[in-house]
Amino acid sequence: MKAIQNLGIAIFLVGLGIFSALPFLGSFQLDQGTFNEIVEEKRIKSELFIEDIQQNVVGKEFSGMVDLSSKISNALDNANATHGKKKEYNKKIYTKSSEMASIIGKKSGTGYIANNKGMMWFLTFGLGIIGALMFIVPQIVTLGQKGIKNDGVYHQSSTGQGWIAWLVFFFLISFYLVLYFGSEYAVNWTYLVDPISKSLSGNPAGHWFVYGFMYCVVMTVMAVRMYIKYRHNVYQMVRTTSVLFFQIVFAFLIPEIMVRLQMPYYDFKNAFPLDYDFFFQWNLKSLLDSGGIGLFILVWGIVLTLVIVPVMVYFFGKRWYCSWVCGCGGLAETLGDPYRQHSSKSLFSWKVERWLIHGVLVFAVVMTGMTLYSFFTETSTVLGIKTSSIQNTYSVYIGSIFAGVIGTGFYPIFGNRMWCRFGCPLAAYLGFVQRFKSRFRITTNGGQCISCGNCSTYCEQGIDVRAYAQKGENIVRSSCVGCGICSAVCPRGVLKLENGPEQGRINPTEVLLGNDVDLMELVNKK
C-alpha cells in the first residue's frame, strides 16, 4: 500500500511538474492572416501597434511566452504612449497587454504542445489524477477501521504548516496570480482543454475554462478523499455529493452549454452579492439583449438573492448554500479539508472577521447602488466618483485578490475558509439571517462536553465551538457554514446540526445538565 501511495505521489508530481513548466514552454508563430483577423476582431486602429507587431512578431518563431509577451507589451505601451502624446485617443488600445498577449498567443501556438493536445492533457491532468488517486484510494485500507482519522495531522509537514504546506501555499498563490493577472502564461494550459471546451460550448478554451475544468477535477479527486475519510458519516457523504454536483453541473456544464445555445453564460446558483458583477452595466445589457432567457436570468438572479436564499436559510441555515451548493465552499470542503484546522480561533480574529466581512458587504452594496444609479440615469459618476473605478477596485482587490489569491492560496497555512469567513459578502448577508431568523442551530447535548477542543480545532470558520458546548449552549453563530465536522470529530456525541423550532434555539441561560436544577438557577443568575 505504502509503495502504491509513494508511486502515486511520484506520478502526481510529474504531472504537476509538466503543468507548472508549461507557461515557460512551447513555440509561437504568428502569421499575417491570423494577425489581420485579430486586428479586425479587436478593432485595433493603432497603425503604430500594427506596424510594430508586423515588424517584430509576425512570421517569427518565439520559444516560450516570455519572449513573445514582452514584444507585445512593448509594442502596446509604445503605441499607446505616442497616441497619448498626440492626443489620438481614438487610436489608443484599451485591451491590457496581458490580455493582448494571450489573444495573440492563443492563435499562434505551434509545435508539440499545440498539436498534441490529447497527449499533453494526459501528461498533465491525466498523470495528476492518476497519481492523486493512487495516493488517496489505498487510504481505504491504510486508515484502518472507519471513524475519525486525524492521526498525525499536526505531525505531517503538509497539514501541520510545515515546508510542504508552504510550498503549496506559494504554488497556489503563483497559480492565481497567473490566472488573474498574467493570463498570457496560461495559453499553453488552454490547449490542453481545447477539445473539451469545443465539445461543450463550441469555442476554444480560454484561461477561465482551464480554471473551471481544473476546479471540477480537483474537487472530484478530493471528494474521493472525503468519501474515504468520512465513510462512517453519511452527512459528510451526502454533503460532498451535493457540492460536487452543483459545481460540475451548475457552475461548469450548464453555462458552457448555454453558450453553445447562443444564451448568456450564467451560473444559476451563483447569487449576488457573491456574484458581484451581476448588476454591472455590461451584464445587464447582455441579459436585456438576450431575449426571454436573459430576462429570466435577470428575474431569477434577483429572486434568488431576495427570496430563495433567505427563505432557505430560515429553514436550513446558511449551510444549504455555503457547504452544500457554493463553488467556493465546494473547493474549501474538498481541496481545503486537510487544512481546516488552521483557522484562527482567537477572539481577536473574530473581531477582525466581523469588521472585514461586513465591510466587504457594505462595499458591495454601495458599489451596486452606484452601478444601478449610473445605469438608470446614464451617468458615469455618482457624487463625483467614477462608478467604473469603484467597480475596478472591487474586482481587483475583492473579486480577484481576496476571493482568489488569498481565498485559496492561503489554504495550507491559514485554513480553508479565509474568503468565506473574512470576505464573502453573501456569507455576511446569510449570516444575518442565520443569526436572527432561522431554525438552524448546533445543539449542545446537555452536560456531556469535556472541553477537549476537537470541535474548535477543526472548525474551518474559526468558531470557538467548545466555548459554547462546555457551557451547554447551542451554537447559533452567523459564520457557521454547517459543514458538520465539529459534530463528526466530537468524541462524546455532544454536537448535532439541527433545524428545529425557533423557540429555545438560543439558550444562554439553559442549564448544564447533571447538577440539580435549583443550583443551576443560581449559577445562571447574573
Binding site: 477501521q145 486525524n150 492521526d151 453519511v234 446537555g446 477537549c452 458538520g484 462524546r492 428545529g500 440539580d516
Partner: protein, 448 residues
Amino acid sequence: MEHIVIIGNGIAGITAARHIRKNSDKKITVVSAETKYFFSRTALMYVYMGHMKFEHTQPYENWFWKKNRIDLVNGYVTTVDHKNKKLVLKDGSNIQYHKLIIATGSKPNKFGWPGQDLPGVQGLYSKQDLDHLEANAPDNKTCKRAVIVGGGLIGIEMAEMLRSRKIPVTFLVRETSFWNGVLPAGESAMINEHILEHHIDLRLATNLVEILADENGRARAVTTDKGDTIECSVVGLTAGVSPNIDFLKESGIELDRGVKVNRHLETNIKDVYAIGDCAEQHEGIGQRRPIEAVWYTGRMMGETVAQTICGNKIEYKPGHWFNSAKFLDIEYQTYGWVFSERGMKENEQHFHWRDDKEKICITVSFDKETKQFLGINTFGIRMRHEIFDRWLTEKRDVNHVMEYLKDANFDPEFYTQYEGKIVSKFNSEFGTNISPKKKSWKRIFSNA
C-alpha cells in the same frame, strides 16, 4: 478582601474559580505545579496522536485569567497550615488564604509491582506524563512494543495513542473481558472484538508480575502470571487512579482514600473545602461512589462550592448519573444506571440489542417488577441527554422509553436509524406490541 486560594487548576478548581469570579469580587489565586494555564486533561491523548496541538487543549486564551483577575501561581504546595491559614510552597514561599479549596485531582495507581518506578514505566494522567510518553515512545523504532497494564478507560486510550504511531501494543487486562466490572457482558464482548480489530494484542485475565530492567536500568520486558515474558520499551500503568493527597498527610485535614467532605464539600477544618477527583464523600450519594473521578462531577462540584463560598450555602446534589467515553472508534454514552453482571442490583433487568453488521449496541436497564426505566448504555448511537434526564426524573417505564426512543436519538442527520430494529427485538423478547413514535420536536422541547 477575602482571598480564596485553590490548589489545582483542573476542571474542578478552574470551574470553582470562574464561578466565584462570576458571583463575587473576591481575590482568587489558583496554585498549580502542573501547567501554567488550565487545559482539558481528557484531550491530552489527541496531542500525542497529532489531532491537536497542546494549545488547543486550553479552553481559555491566555489573556482570560488576567482579565478576570484570577491569579495563577506556578508552584507545588508542600504544607497546608490551617491554623495560620497558610500554604507553604516547595520554593519556601507562603500564601495566606481566607478560604482554601483543595482540587488536586488524582494520580495513577501503582500496586507495588517490582520495577514500577523504572524509567520507561509511566501512567497517563498529567501533562508531564504526556511529555514522558513523547520521549519514551516517539515512534515505533524507538519503542518496539508497549505493554499496557489495566483495562479501563485510560488503558484503552493509551493503546489507541500508541497505535496511532504504529507501535505494537500488548494490553494486559485483569478481568476476563474488557471493563466488565462496569459494562454488561454483551457490550464488553463487543469492545473486546473492536480492540482486536485495531491490532492490539489483548490479553484477558492476565496480571502483571514484574517489570524487568535492562543493563541501563530501563524497562525492557514484563512478566505475566501466565508465565509469559513480553519484551517492550514502554510500560503503561493504567490500573485506575486515586486521590492525589499525599501532601496533606500531616495537615490535620481528615483523609481516607481522599479528602473527606460532607455534602457541602467542607472538610473537617473550617474554611477548607475539597472538590473533584480528590474529594471523598462520607457516603456515596445515591448509587454513586464516594470518590468520583469523572470530568463532569469535578465540574459540578466546582459550581457547587463556588455558590457556598459566595454566600449561598448549598449541598452538592448531582442529578441523574451520566457519563461518556470513546473506545477507539466506538462512542459510548450512559444515562442513569446500568450495572454490569457483577454489580447488578436485585431488581435490575436488562434488555440488550446489538446490530448484526455494525459495532452498535445498547443496553436498557429497568425494574423487573415495576418496569421503571433505570438507565441506558449506548454504543455507536448518540442519545439526547435532556430526554433521558427527563425520563429518569419522570420515572417513565421501559415501554415508554421504547415507544419514544426516536425523540432521544442524537445522531447526525441522514444516519441510519436503528429504533425500528431495537423495538422489534424488545417486542419479541417481552411480548409487547410497541411501535416507535415518529420524532416530535414538540415533545423534545416540551419543558422549554
